[in-house]
């Protein structure tokens, strides 16, 4: 049956150790191990490109074992090769959080965020002019990261990163590269609120400024305007 062969191929390609029974069933041990190598090499390559610094930090052996563990669960669920590192990271970050120095998981989150924004969908095409009494429409290629280590600073120190609360905005710039901007806590809250788009811009600004005991004066408005100009495309939904 075709489905039996397909499942045997899956186990041979993704299993931690291919079984001799599957290899015998498929008919050519040596050649099916070639397929196993081809499939795994391609996936390892894209993961290594996306998580280059993390791989260097944990070492090739640890990185390879984590990829093996992830593949052992059955292989990628995504048809898009560019999303493979994201699927790997869902497992890998939790593994490395438990087994590696505490900054490694932050570094992996940062690298995955930069990978995501580079390959993120285009910005929404449908939105209206900016209006403070309406919900914001923000750029799609933008992530807010709340980290415990300044892993965006390179090169990676030989002794790793010291603990330091780090708020970052990672976004795709005009040259289509991933750019990183350090945020203060108020700006991070604003950007996250605008991404959720549960409130109008005015509502989010008033609420978050109050939470941070910040007066909405000229200096605040100037910085707010810059943040809006950079990340808010326009508005949607009814006026409130």
């Amino acid at each position: 049956m075709l489905s039996d062969r397909a499942k045997a191929m899956q186990r041979v390609c993704f299993g931690t150790e291919p079984s001799e029974a599957d290899l015998a069933f498929l008919g050519s041990r040596e050649r099916w191990l070639v397929y196993r190598d081809l499939v795994r090499s391609r996936l390892m390559h894209v993961a290594s490109v996306a998580l280059r610094r993390t791989k260097s930090a944990v070492g090739d052996d640890t990185f390879g074992r984590t990829v093996d563990e992830w593949l052992g669960a059955g292989g990628p669920r995504t048809r898009y090769l560019r999303h493979v590192p994201n699927e790997l990271a869902e497992l890998a970050i939790s593994v490395w959080r438990a087994t590696e120095p505490p900054w490694v998981a932050d570094l992996a989150r940062y690298e995955i965020a930069t990978w995501e924004v580079r390959h993120a969908p285009p910005d929404p095409k449908s939105f209206d002019d900016l209006a403070f009494d309406r919900k914001p429409t923000v750029r799609s290629a933008m992530r807010v990261l709340r980290l415990s280590h300044p892993v965006h600073e390179t090169p990676t120190p030989e002794t790793g990163y010291d603990r330091e609360q780090t708020l970052l905005c990672v976004y795709r710039d005009q040259a289509h590269q991933a750019a990183t901007r350090k945020l203060n806590p108020l700006a991070a809250d604003l950007l996250e609120a605008w991404q959720k788009a549960d409130e109008t811009i005015a509502e989010s600004v008033e609420r978050i400024a109050a939470q941070h005991h910040t007066e909405i004066g000229p200096a605040f408005v100037e910085k707010l305007s810059a943040l809006i100009a950079e990340f808010v495309l326009g508005a949607h939904g009814p006026s409130r």
Partner: protein, 280 residues
């Protein structure tokens, strides 16, 4: 633009796109893109595609629709793919006659189907469903394979023809894949071409491949086109006529001028083959 796709084309790949889009060499008559690389993706890829469409006719070549998979189709994906193809106004779309995934998992490689009646029926029915869903012609492509099947050699071409006829489908004939399989499994590649219903061929692929130390040939798209493959292309074009030919180069991408030299060679073969047909 999407004018007529004819002559020699080149696969639009990220590694060569910048120079290709800046120079816009006249010898490249059309481009081929993988939809999976562009669907729901902004940034550089969106920009590349928009620029490419401005200057060249474009056709699409899928990587993940998996004509041989026993699983149901992802209808949401087919819907998105159909919309993408309509927007590009491609004259046809193509996919591989292979197994690309199972149980909602993807190999991200082209695994071989057994040359069986069951596999032919699965592939034909999937092709028909996918073609209906995307709303335009869907050509299947013969693939390279490395693992022996119960029946090898020219059984492969019988399998390909069986699927073509059951689905009344078009064919993207990959001459490098024929050549690679002929060397790996010991058959005459011209005999394979002879059995192809030429009226179904809408496009040809040509590429280079890797020869491992143990002699196994792997379809890497990472090497120059070898002379034997050029010769098989010449033989093929004399039989099938003026169908568009694509140079595939996905890995180990050289400077553009090296690819353009291969394109020039392909044009020479193409024109000679058409001249020979006209002379008959």
């Amino acid at each position: 633009m999407n004018g007529e796709v004819q002559g020699i084309g080149l696969g639009l790949r990220h590694d060569l796109a910048t120079e290709l889009l800046e120079r816009r060499p006249a010898s490249v008559a059309w481009l081929e893109v993988h939809p999976e690389n562009y669907l729901n993706r902004g940034g550089r890829y969106q920009e590349m595609l928009e620029l490419a469409r401005t200057h060249w006719p474009v056709v699409t070549h899928g990587l993940s629709t998996c004509l041989g998979s026993p699983d149901p189709f992802d209808t949401a994906y087919l819907h998105d793919l159909g919309a993408f193809l309509r927007d590009l106004e491609v004259p046809w779309h193509s996919e591989h006659l292979c197994l690309g995934g199972v149980d909602d998992r993807f190999f991200h490689d082209l695994l071989p189907l057994p040359f069986t009646d069951e596999a032919a029926e699965v592939a034909a029915q999937r092709l028909i469903k996918a073609r209906d869903a995307i709303g335009r012609p869907l050509a299947l492509e013969n693939v390279s394979y490395y693992a022996p099947q119960a029946t090898d050699g020219l059984a492969e071409v019988d399998f390909v023809v069986e699927v073509l006829e059951r689905a009344d489908a078009a064919l993207l004939l990959d001459v490098n894949n024929i050549y690679v399989n002929s060397k790996n499994f010991g058959f005459d590649p011209r005999a394979f071409v002879d059995k192809i219903p030429t009226e179904r061929v809408v496009q040809v692929h040509v590429a280079g491949h890797l020869v491992r130390e143990d002699g196994l040939r792997i379809d890497t798209h990472g090497e120059p086109v070898p002379d034997d493959v050029y010769q098989l292309l010449d033989y093929t074009l004399r039989k099938v006529g003026p169908v568009p030919v694509l140079l595939e180069r996905d890995n180990n991408v050289p400077p553009l001028d090296e690819l353009l030299a291969e394109i020039d060679t392909l044009w020479t073969i193409y024109r000679n083959a058409m001249g020979a047909r006209d002379a008959v």
